[in-house]
């Protein structure tokens, strides 16, 4: 059984969701419970998207509605933490010469919802800075968002540099964005390519899952 709040979030009933959240917070209900119900709504939206019942539009709208609800809930949470354990760290960037960020932002929202810690370097990012940030943050994933063909060479440059400094195998690299194709994955030397943010999230989850299995079996 899903609650009214959860259902309204799935149905993108913005007014209803926000007024219910406000009301229940005013009545001193446990903010964690309200948060959980919203989060469940987001998970079910994700399910619908995977089944192709929902589209990018609903994914964006629910993500933004969730963000609005969280803004209301957060002040009530006090010391309580809503994030569970961090599933993994991911560095995102749109590389030098390209200033597109819509797709990257959608991806970042979805990743955060799934419990990833997202380090977003923004747009038009210098390749050397990305290499430096990889050294500093040691992320599990590096994700490039690319909408222009002129980004292919600088992305390749980053990946080549990571090889030189011995960091390439320590992380998985994703390329996404409307212009990318499997050809781009091969050309740059990335591990995964997609034009669907949700597929990217699934890929990251899958990698984390297999790592946990490997660890459980006593592997590295």
């Amino acid at each position: 059984m899903t609650s009214d709040l959860t259902n309204n979030l799935i149905e993108l009933e913005r007014e209803k969701v926000l007024s219910e959240v406000k009301e229940r917070l005013n009545q001193n209900e446990d903010p964690m419970k309200i948060f959980e119900e919203c989060k469940q709504g987001m998970e079910l939206v994700g399910e619908k998207y995977k089944k192709k019942e929902y589209f990018l539009a609903e994914l964006m709208l629910s993500g933004d509605l969730f963000r609005e609800a969280m803004e209301l809930i957060e002040p009530y949470l006090g010391e309580k933490k809503v994030e569970g354990d961090i599933k993994g760290k991911i560095l995102l960037a749109t590389i030098q010469g390209d200033i597109h960020d819509l797709g990257k932002n959608i991806l970042a929202t979805l990743l955060k919802l799934e419990g990833f810690k997202v380090y977003d370097l923004g747009v038009d990012v210098n390749p050397d800075i990305i290499v430096e940030k990889v050294k500093e943050i040691q992320p599990d994933f590096l994700g490039f968002s690319s909408l222009l063909t002129i980004t292919f060479d600088p992305m390749k440059e980053v990946i080549d540099k990571l090889k030189e400094v011995g960091l390439r195998d320590k992380l998985k690299i994703l390329v996404g964005g409307g212009i990318t194709t499997p050809l781009v994955k091969d050309y740059t030397g990335a591990d995964f390519q997609t034009i669907d943010a949700m597929e990217g999230v699934q890929y990251c989850l899958e990698i984390i899952r297999t790592r946990i299995v490997v660890k459980a079996r006593g592997g590295i």
């Binding site: 993108l12 913005r14 929902y54 589209f55 990018l56 539009a57 609903e58 964006m60 709208l61 933004d64 030098q96 010469g97 390209d98 200033i99 597109h100 819509l102 038009d124 222009l148 063909t149 002129i150 292919f152 060479d153 600088p154 409307g178 212009i179 990318t180 194709t181 050809l183 781009v184 050309y187 034009i195």
Partner: protein, 380 residues
């Protein structure tokens, strides 16, 4: 090998009207970025002096041996701003350095309140009266001057391509689809919220904008003798919205545009980027040969052919990735596949996905042209 026997114009008309041309007409979309990169020109300067961009483009056209269809004019900053789209250009808002090209600046520049104004006075007046000053630092004098500059530049483009080079597609006007204009100016998320939470406001604006588009296109084409209008739409498709949104906010307006213009002898060139797989069947409702369906490589064009064959002309879709990092062999194979599968008998214009990208390998572009010009003739 058989000889060509049609002019670019005849070839293009044949394809659009689903009749057999001597060979597939070729009409890649090339802005100024590729020619500028190829000749090592300064992009910042071309944005300031658009006439030079036309010169670079026709030089490139001549050097590569030409093709059949008019590509759109180079999209320079003043063109974007005059049309009501905020833009960042190298040397102005972006570094004046190699590797930087002009880019549209998406943001919530248009506000919810503006819908009403647009519904009342139309997009053109809204831009001219107030919006242009919100998205640029221009004064009214700058607007006047840039308008003149743009007009000269468009005139030069027409003269070089249509008159001197006898290009086959006479694009009389460029009009961003009303739905797309609103999406770009409100920004994707905000516009999506408007569609779901303030549908009436959007509809009222779309109504006025659609009428305005039709009227101004007819007037402009009558003035310059063009018979094709270039209409990009890259935000209404099934990759983003469910069909209920498409059916309410896009399809009726598009149908009205295409049908009204067709009645006046104008063909709508629908430039449809992104994946339109879900939406393709709708286009069967349009009058036969009334428009060109221009895809970018993300829609399954072979399936689109199955659905639209004998009804509408498709414009193909060699992707930017293939042009920039593919091999000549890959380009050749793909062009052959397009020609074989999309219609030796008409209904296909060979083209690039969106545009041929600035870092296209010149060999790949040569292969694209050569295969397009010779493949079919060499077999007949």
């Amino acid at each position: 090998m058989k000889e060509e026997y049609m002019t670019p114009q005849e070839r293009m008309n044949a394809a659009i009207n689903l009749k057999k041309p001597d060979r597939v007409p070729i009409a890649p979309i090339i802005g100024m970025d590729l020619p500028a990169t190829y000749y090592g020109l300064n992009i910042a300067e071309l944005h300031r002096e658009p006439i030079k961009a036309v010169e670079a483009m026709v030089k490139f056209f001549d050097e590569f041996g030409g093709w059949d269809g008019y590509s759109t004019l180079p999209l320079v900053k003043i063109g974007y701003i005059l049309g009501g789209l905020k833009f960042k250009a190298p040397g102005q808002e972006l570094p004046d350095a190699p590797g930087y090209y002009g880019q549209f600046d998406e943001g919530e520049w248009m506000k919810v309140e503006d819908y009403k104004t647009i519904a009342d006075i139309g997009w053109g007046k809204f831009v001219a009266n107030e919006y242009i000053y919100r998205i640029s630092d221009w004064t009214p004098e700058d607007v006047e001057e840039n308008r003149k500059k743009y007009f000269q530049f468009a005139l030069k483009g027409g003269e070089e391509y249509t008159i001197k080079r006898k290009m086959g597609m006479r694009t009389g006007a460029n009009r961003v689809h009303p739905f797309f204009l609103l999406s770009l100016n409100r920004s994707l998320l905000k516009f999506t919220q408007d569609l779901y939470y303030r549908p009436e406001l959007v509809e009222a604006a779309l109504e006025t904008m659609t009428d305005g588009l039709i009227k101004s296109t007819i007037a402009q084409c009558k003035g310059n003798g063009g018979n094709v209008v270039f209409v990009p739409e890259e935000r209404a498709e099934g990759a983003i919205y469910p069909l209920k949104i498409f059916e309410r906010f896009w399809w009726p307006y598009t149908k009205r545009i295409v049908e009204s213009l067709y009645d006046e002898g104008i063909i709508t060139w629908l430039h449809l980027d992104q994946c339109w797989d879900l939406n393709i069947p709708y286009f069967k409702e349009l009058p036969r040969a009334s428009c060109i369906i221009d895809l970018d490589g993300l829609t399954d064009i072979f399936r689109a052919k199955e659905i639209l064959k004998d009804h509408l002309c498709l414009m193909s879709d060699v992707s930017g990735s293939l042009f920039s990092i593919g091999s000549e062999k890959q380009v050749e194979d793909y062009v052959k596949k397009l020609i074989d599968k999309l219609g030796v008998d008409g209904g296909h214009i060979l083209s690039s996905g969106c545009e041929v990208p600035p870092n296209c390998r010149p060999e790949n572009f040569r292969t694209f042209l050569k295969t397009g010009k010779t493949y079919q003739l060499s077999r007949e």
